[in-house]
Symmetry: C2
Subunit: 487 residues, 2 copies
Amino acid sequence: SEYVAPADKRRQYISGFSGSAGTAVITQDKQAVWSDGRYFLQAEDELDCNWLLMKEGEPDVPTILEWLKLELTSGMNISADSTLIGSSEWLNYIKELGDINMIEIDENLNLVDEVWGNDNVTSRPPYAEDEVFIHDVTYAGRSWEEKVDDVRAEMLAQDADLIILTALDEIAWLFNLRGNDIPYNPVFRSYVTISANESNLFISPNKVTDAVRIHLKDVNIFDYDNFLSHLDSIQANKVMIPNAYSYAGGASYAVYSRIVEEARFLVTSPVLLMKAMKNPTEIQGMRNAHIKDAVALCDFLCFMEKEIKAGNDWTEISAANKLADYRGEQDGEKGLSFTTISGFGSNGAIIHYKPTSATDKTIDTSSLYLLDSGGQYLDGTTDVTRTMHYGTPTSLMVETYTRVLMGQIDLAMAVFPDGTMDTRTDILARGPLYEIGLDYNHGTGHGIGMFLSVHEAPTQVRIYGVEDHPFRYGYFFSDGKKLYLLE
Amino acid sequence: SEYVAPADKRRQYISGFSGSAGTAVITQDKQAVWSDGRYFLQAEDELDCNWLLMKEGEPDVPTILEWLKLELTSGMNISADSTLIGSSEWLNYIKELGDINMIEIDENLNLVDEVWGNDNVTSRPPYAEDEVFIHDVTYAGRSWEEKVDDVRAEMLAQDADLIILTALDEIAWLFNLRGNDIPYNPVFRSYVTISANESNLFISPNKVTDAVRIHLKDVNIFDYDNFLSHLDSIQANKVMIPNAYSYAGGASYAVYSRIVEEARFLVTSPVLLMKAMKNPTEIQGMRNAHIKDAVALCDFLCFMEKEIKAGNDWTEISAANKLADYRGEQDGEKGLSFTTISGFGSNGAIIHYKPTSATDKTIDTSSLYLLDSGGQYLDGTTDVTRTMHYGTPTSLMVETYTRVLMGQIDLAMAVFPDGTMDTRTDILARGPLYEIGLDYNHGTGHGIGMFLSVHEAPTQVRIYGVEDHPFRYGYFFSDGKKLYLLE
């Protein structure tokens, strides 16, 4: 998952870097974190001098593989938690590392957890045990039985006996269920297998209420912890195993390696593609949610303009809390869709900035205020970025703000045929900035879930992306550029 | 080569279809031609009822491979002239056809030539034996010795002992030579091998003058016909063999299969990439050539407007000839860069239309006149498309013309960073047409040579392309949309 439960924030625990994307690699004498352009400033701030920061995509910065080849010698061993690393990544390491061995360690042993579980200062938090709840068909538009039928039709078309689902948002969407296991993401820790005659859901039994059991009819419910051993008992000729695709990490190597070699069939999950194409009920819900979210945001922006001009005291944190209150007034609101990015002045230049008590700035009339936030509603998920200046912006601020807006409108107004690749539309958004030699170091748009993940596969409007994804009718995506200026 | 000598137009001879792109496949009881959207109308016109036309990319049209699998059964044999088919295509056939065998026949036996050579009506024309000539360094900007040094540096960087060059424009560019072997393309039939100490040019000896021998200094000159057998004598550990990339077809399977398996190293030709990035002298030459070409075109357009309005008799062919005369008045003109597409009314809807005495229409004030033409000059190559109406266009013509022009200007004015992918810029050109639900069934832009091929690898501005190519500073490309309307 892109977003994980607090109990799974192992990279943050071990390195201190809290960004949503990054990988830590530890050898006997060095440790390094790789992250992307959104997090360079934040990672420099959070990592101490014991850690190397590897800025992905910058000149002369090695990839993880290149670095491992430099640091290690023939015959040395590498491992990772095979339940957490994607199968394609693991297989690539095996292929590329040659004489350096990729070894599996006990699936129940995670080396970070060994330290974290015994750390009295930062003891490892438990997993949530909140109950899952039914997402009513009046929001979902289709029953889970119809969705499972579609999955089986796709299995038949691909001549597969079984499909394994490992993406939490796919499982939530497929069964019209939601949960509270991961902050900002209404999903629950689970696995699913579907064959021609059986559907099996692996989930902590405490989370399943009687109402959910009735809702799920003949779906077999097994304990989450029994999933991997269940795979050993599978007898199938062809098993669809989700591959990494866009924001979806795909099945872990532990899942992949449990399936006998002849039966492995790595595919883009058909549920991923079905979920991305919103049905008419979901489309209407997304529109409703965005209208409600806009009301909350307008309330807030109007309030803030008066407050700041009156000289009242508001900080990044108190403003974000106020906005959350306004969102909470809306029908069907179910919390935020991600940590609010509320950044004043130089803090607005940290792309995925989250204010803390140590960094919290007072918002006044002297600089830009960047606000990137979103809400979860029973009928949709939102993600909205706005930049304000409550005083007199500089001419550079005016010019760049205008050009960001021009590009945002150009992409928003664009008409293009079904099947157009996402990477091939982004120049519309960047063009006005390119004209004056400027650019921004993050994607322009991403798919959005319907009361699900704020970053949803497959869409990524990203001119520098290496993977193309076709747009289909019914897809939703964001069109966001943060106007950030280093002071 | 994309363009070939008359002696090599085997597909045209056997099928009747004369377009610049297409493949004929013949089984014991069927024959079919595959071509792309630019040629659907022309192919329907030229192919008789004995031939199946396969419209590439249309729904339910099989690829060649899919069709072969349907038509043939296990154990049957397929062949092609291994000296003419690219190695990657041949290898793909071997991989995909399974139990159907890909067999090599004698490299000196071409089955079409067996028929054509004995056909008294359409006897096979001979290859040209025109002498090659030196392209002066005042145009080329760099000596061939400097270019060969760059190639050797790249070989060293890739740890290769030898490179084989098979693309005619790469060989012409590398040695600052030009020829007349292929209409509209100032190249000569040849092969090249370069090692750390030796450069070998394989060419018909009659084409090499004393001046060229002096120019080439210590380059070994061998007979063209000895090239394949020369490959048998090669002793090298790693041989760079050009792979198919964009408009470049790559080395033939006959070349590839002559190199011992352990030494084969398929790469994008480094000469292809060097040639695309024009040096300052070439850039200045391309600008000069375009100015001269624009003078010729303005002369012609001014002349034609008066003539047609005066009611004088001009046809597609006579107009194209008049334009060629104007181009001929310019300094350093060396003929046209492709067959002039001069199409009036419905003929303008045939994307790569070439007027013949059977189709030649009179140009008058009743419809659109499409003119797509270009010239070869010692200092550059041009490709310009213009659409005229000498009477009163319909409102649909006005709207579509305006939107084509808007897109053309948007792409022409675009600024983007070095390394931007060509496929990711095309939406700028198509956007204004997309807005009203229109599109065109061809690429928008292609790389252009410098007194070389009018279609030059790698650039293809084509939103529907499957291969991305990065733009680099110094690349030239066209920005062309044909306004064509079925009447």
